[in-house]
């Protein structure tokens, strides 16, 4: 007798195929296909393993790269003792437990979420975890990828599984043609502005619709990357020909099983008629470039707008938060965003440091000079190498940008790349929290081309006026 199969979402399919044990409806044991680790959230996990004399169950499904804490200048001599200890600890731990590691001087080193896709480690249908919330980036390949804490890192190292609650299904449908000057970053900022930083809490967001289908893998990664800023556990995009073409040439892509793998990946997209717990629709036809004005990624408006007025807000908690944001950001309600002066520009982070981001930003600044401090931090050594092959480094340097080595850098300001108190930054990163880019620093999030435009004009500006 034929068993009736109810239609499944992409998330349901990945979840169900990774269940090792269903303890109960709430706590389920999920198998992990790829575990990425870095220097900041792993030392205590290895310490835990040693304490109980435990092994890493699947060292070959684990991969390590230093990124959060690495200097982007003078890397041969790391002056900060604490940083050096953390980097050396990762190297020792990976060596002791037999885990592959890209050292800081390896051309393949870079931000962990750039490396996974670049090496072809990230593949559709996988479960991928990392002790970093932006693990959601890998969802662009139709992999269920999410950030975990250090105790969970230890759990995965020891067991290759995680105890998880199944997330709910949410779908965001994007329709329309992206107007000139609008990027994937503007789409995701627009989405977060609409649903809020807790809009996706408890859910995995699947992004779909014609706009998504036309996006490059780089753009899809930017969107999935910031799913966590909408509170979601993960972001997902159904794998398609764009995905397969991207993976095919990568060093760790399936080789002799390529056809078999693609056939499997083609079965992953959501079935017709599958149910979502929550659904949103967004038309992108009239979207303007997006810029944040406050200290939460949901504090976002169009570049043509003005800084909002908290007195128009009816919710008391929200009003308080807005007032505090404006005080921290030193902005007055009603100020035109385009009148906001910028001190520093940061192009980098796991959100926007891929080759496509650098190419687009370079087009904006070509032949112009910066009016601010400005730096480019490529996402990986290979991105940097590719950019140099294309002469992008020259364009950036001639305009007055600093051209650095790869790492997380000023996205979270763990290394020496920090804003000073009161400095205002146009940043391509993902978080504008208080103190995120340095104590007292003020961050405005935007796309790489918008940040490039701010660099050459010294203030926030609609990039469409320059290109």
């Amino acid at each position: 007798m034929l068993q009736h199969q109810s239609p499944k979402t992409l998330f349901d399919k990945i979840w169900n195929s990774h269940l090792v044990d269903k303890k109960d409806d709430v706590n389920q044991l999920l198998y992990i296909d790829l575990h990425l680790i870095h220097e900041v959230t792993s030392p205590q996990a290895f310490e835990g393993l040693r304490l109980f004399n435990r092994k890493v169950r699947q060292p070959k499904k684990t991969f390590a790269v230093p990124d959060h804490n690495v200097p982007t200048l003078n890397r041969d001599n790391i002056e900060d003792k604490l940083s050096r200890t953390q980097l050396e600890t990762l190297e020792k731990n990976t060596k002791d437990f037999g885990i592959e590691f890209f050292p800081i001087n390896d051309i393949r080193q870079g931000i962990v979420h750039i490396i996974g896709p670049e090496q072809g480690l990230t593949q559709p249908g996988m479960t991928i975890v990392c002790g970093d919330s932006h693990t959601s980036t890998h969802g662009a390949f139709g992999a269920l990828a999410f950030g975990i804490g250090t105790s969970e890192v230890e759990h995965v190292l020891a067991t290759q599984t995680l105890i998880q609650n199944p997330a709910k299904n949410m779908r965001i449908n994007l329709e329309g043609n992206m107007p000139f000057g609008i990027t994937a970053k503007d789409l995701i900022l627009g989405i977060i502005g609409k649903i809020g930083t807790a809009g996706g809490t408890g859910h995995v967001i699947e992004y779909s619709g014609p706009t998504i289908q036309k996006l490059s893998m780089e753009g899809r990664m930017t969107i999935c990357n910031m799913s966590i800023e909408a509170g979601a556990r993960a972001g997902l995009i159904a794998p398609d020909e764009t995905t397969f073409n991207y993976i095919k040439s990568k060093p760790r892509a399936p080789k002799k099983n390529w056809e078999e793998a693609v056939n499997f990946w083609k079965k992953l997209p959501t079935d017709k008629g599958a149910q979502y717990n929550k659904e949103e629709f967004l038309s992108v036809d009239k979207l303007d470039p997006q810029v944040t004005w406050g200290t939460s990624p949901q504090d976002v408006v169009s570049i043509k707008d003005r800084v909002p007025d908290p007195s128009n807000e009816s919710d008391a908690n929200r009003k308080n938060a807005m007032e505090r944001s404006l005080e921290y950001m030193d902005l007055k309600p009603g100020t035109k965003l385009e009148d906001v002066k910028i001190d520093q520009v940061f192009i980098g982070s796991c959100t926007n440091s891929r080759i496509e981001d650098l190419r687009e930003a370079a087009k904006v600044i070509k032949g112009k000079s910066v009016k601010t401090k400005a730096m480019v931090v490529p996402g990986s050594g290979l991105v940097k190498q590719q950019a140099e092959k294309e002469g992008l480094d020259k364009i950036f340097k001639e305009a007055g940008f600093e051209w650095r080595d790869s790492g997380c850098s000023m996205c979270l300001a763990m290394n020496a790349d920090k804003l000073k108190a009161g400095e205002r930054c146009a940043s391509t990163s993902n978080r504008n929290f208080e103190g995120r880019q340095g104590k007292g620093g003020r961050s405005h999030l935007m796309s790489p081309i918008m940040a490039a435009a701010a660099a050459v004009t010294g203030h926030l500006i609609d990039v469409r006026e320059l290109i």
């Binding site: 198998y31 200890t85 593949q123 104590k439």
Partner: protein
């Protein structure tokens, strides 16, 4: 892991919405390779002045609330980064229980792994608790995990929900890695099937 059964102590209201883990523990303090010693950096940027002195107006700097073991939080507390250092800093400071209307997912998971109980209640009840504890004289709360209740005073008790597996782990101080290691046969079986079904994932 330390057991969590029943506790009584001072509860501090910290009701900002969207408190992110960068605010709980800024990135500059993540260079440690230990889990301990982060309490002094908890909420560092809003707790201390530039010269290192304490900001008088910050709730956990007030003499009475310095000994808080419960924190009443605003919506979406713990959003942003997955850093477990945020939970370690709260724990090292002395916080053992959080009560709020909504917590960010990763932070919520991290709490349980460290013996901290995050309780989710309807905002209506959160507001009642805030009203009660805002006066120092009545800032004590009792949380009984076994009975799943918060004792406000002699006359009022609030019930809360918590899933049974997590409750058991907290009550008994269980280490969930050893529980999962007991499932070795199931994991090996999964891996055996995986090798046959998706051979390109076999490494």
């Amino acid at each position: 892991m330390e057991k969590f059964t029943k506790l009584s102590g001072v509860a501090a209201p910290f009701t900002r919405i969207n408190v992110d883990t960068d605010l709980i523990i800024p990135a500059e303090y993540l260079k440690t390779i230990r889990r301990t010693g982060l309490g002094k950096h908890l909420f560092s940027y809003i707790r201390y002045n530039d010269d290192g002195s304490q900001k008088k107006e910050f709730i956990l700097n007030k003499a009475h609330y310095k000994k808080s073991i419960i924190l009443i939080t605003g919506k979406n507390f713990g959003c942003g980064s997955s850093r477990e250092h945020a939970v370690w800093a709260l724990k090292d400071f002395g916080i053992k229980c959080l009560i709020g209307a909504e917590f960010a997912d990763i932070f919520y998971n991290n709490c349980f792994k460290n013996g901290i109980l995050p309780i989710i209640l309807n905002q209506f009840y959160i507001n009642r608790i805030i009203k009660k504890i805002s006066s120092e004289k009545t800032s004590m709360l009792t949380v009984d995990l076994k009975k799943q209740i918060i004792i406000m005073d002699q006359n009022e008790v609030l019930k809360f929900k918590v899933d049974s597996y997590r409750k058991k782990c907290l009550l008994e101080g269980l280490d969930d890695i050893s529980l999962t290691l007991n499932k070795d046969t199931l994991i090996s079986k999964y891996e055996f099937n995986l090798k046959k079904k998706l051979p390109w994932l076999d490494k």
